[in-house]
Amino acid sequence: MKVALFIPCYVDQFYPQVGMATVKLLEHFGVEHEFPKAQTCCGQPMANSGCMPEAKPLAMKYVDVFKGYDYIVAPSGSCVSMVRNHYETFFTDEDKAANDVRNRTYELSEFLVNVLNVREIKGRFASNVGIHQSCHGLRELRLGPSSEVMKTRPSMMTDLLAGLEGISFSKLQRTDECCGFGGTFAVAEEAVSCMMGEDRVNDHLSAGTEVLTAGDMSCLMHLEGIIRRQKHNIRVMHFAEILAEALETPVAV
């Protein structure tokens, strides 16, 4: 299978370790990968601001850059949700080639679980992990159960982590409340954004979280920003980083 890496714009520039962890994971499962260098951004910041005309060129660029691959994999629920769910603004049913690229775009955990059929990853990660369920991954891609909906669903990220030796999960007061990032919201509604983030951080602090993780670096960037400003002792890692680190940590005999 020919797999392309789709790395969110700000991850490419500010969180390269998340991309490298993704690479490590794919290589562990023997997946051949490429990084089409022409990629930049899925257009979400523009689209979420209501600026569809400004987002369109990026959508066109995306389907052009990623055509021809069997799968396009991104360590980001929100970018994948943009491509799969919200590019419909730019493409009709007749744009078969473009829609094919959209349908082949996967978030990392769903790619591992649903395409590679990974059920367990053997490694060691002895920490109390706090799961943050990023909203787009949760309610747009249904990567896990949302507390509002009376329907059980597996949480793919949690299931992948659960098999790691030594890991435990902290019990939160609110399992899937939004972190408050919300794109430009983080600055335009700074007061509410930071109160939301602070509430998440406090929930994790009370629950004894040692490592805070999620499937979207945008959430983690915002939460880590608060954690570091308030000088709390919580390590913030994308779940790909946890899995990659665990793979390198031998299981205790």
Partner: protein
Amino acid sequence: MSHPTLAQKFVDNKPRAQWHDKALWFVREKRDRMAASVPEWEDLRSHASAIKIHTMSQLPTYLEKFEANAKTLGVHVHWAADGDEHNRIVHEILKKHDVKKVVKSKSMLTEECHLNPFLEKNGYEVVDTDLGERIVQLREETPSHIVLPAIHIRKEEVGECFHEHLGTEKGVSDPKYLTEAARGHLRERFCTADAGITGVNFAIAETGGFVVCTNEGNADLGVSLPKLHIACMGIEKLIPRASDLAVFLRLLARSATGQPITTYSSHFHGPREGSELHMILVDNGRSGILAKPEFRRSLGCIRCGACMNTCPVYRRSGGHSYESTVPGPIGSILTPLQTPEKHASLPFACTLCGSCTDVCPVKIDLHHQLLAMRGFLDRKKLLGMSKKLSMKFLSGLLSSTWMFTTAGTAARTALRWMPRFAVYNPLNGWGKQRELPEPPMQSFRDQYAEHKKNSRGPS
């Protein structure tokens, strides 16, 4: 003022904002417990959604059917194109019946039409009889939540208000004591009222009747004593059949307050003997929303307030920060469709988290409509110059790979070298309460290129 400005004020009183947030989260949790106790909950939501979509697609026909059936029962049916016409009609009816004193139960529609100030200006005494609404009325405020009007008010403040207006003991804030005082005060109003005005939770096309749901019994007392009942309704409140009530009554109170049903679910079909029943069917922009396929489903709203209870932004900014009769997620769609200039900030008072969509009993795709509202405002050129320009700039930058990578490298380098005071200053909205990410030496694409070069594995 815009939502961000008012929200900032709300959050500035952090303990109060936290109290407000917790109070509403508690209601959301009650809703969850109720929903979990109904095995077919998600099916009920699907049914409710289908019934409303069906009804909206045939709304004119159902309205005609409703009107004909209501008239057969002896109901006087009036039509109002907008809030002003609605108010005039109410005035005409009250005048004809020589009314001086009116009691009113909760009706967001009458709030939307600003009925109270209009009636007061025309010399009527209007008493809101829902306890929460009476509290805000005495405090000369507007409700901050469509179901829990006084959720933003602390019991000590209610105590002060009642001490001033009802003569309760100073400094006493026990809810039971205060409610008892309100009971006596409002009972006197029920007994001396000349007319009762109610809203309509559901109107039944098949029968020409309607249902009013309350916990307090104030709507029923308000219309069972005076000889005149005026029921005010948005035209979208119609459902086709009486049997459909089963679906909606199972969903409404569970979603709104986490109870299996409201204490009273009163079905009115025609006037009480010796009295008159008038209904006013109000458009006020609803036909305009019906004409917009992207937003049509928002007409399915049954005004339960669940979206407000679950919205992390609403909980931390309060209903008044929306400056809208209906606040929160649904209000941020409906109101800017009516008054886009005034309310352009509302669809942006949202992180698109989607929680509202998942609690909505009629499965309105609220967060998708909020996103669509942003595009709607852009097409109306209401996004604001700086936002539009920065998006144009960003789009241009990101359309070119080399511009993007160059800008990225420049940003990382600058952040590594700039002194802290240059980075974290009042111009940096992000940096007020958060650190920026640590700028890495290399971007991912640089590291990947190296990795590919070094690896002996497959290309």
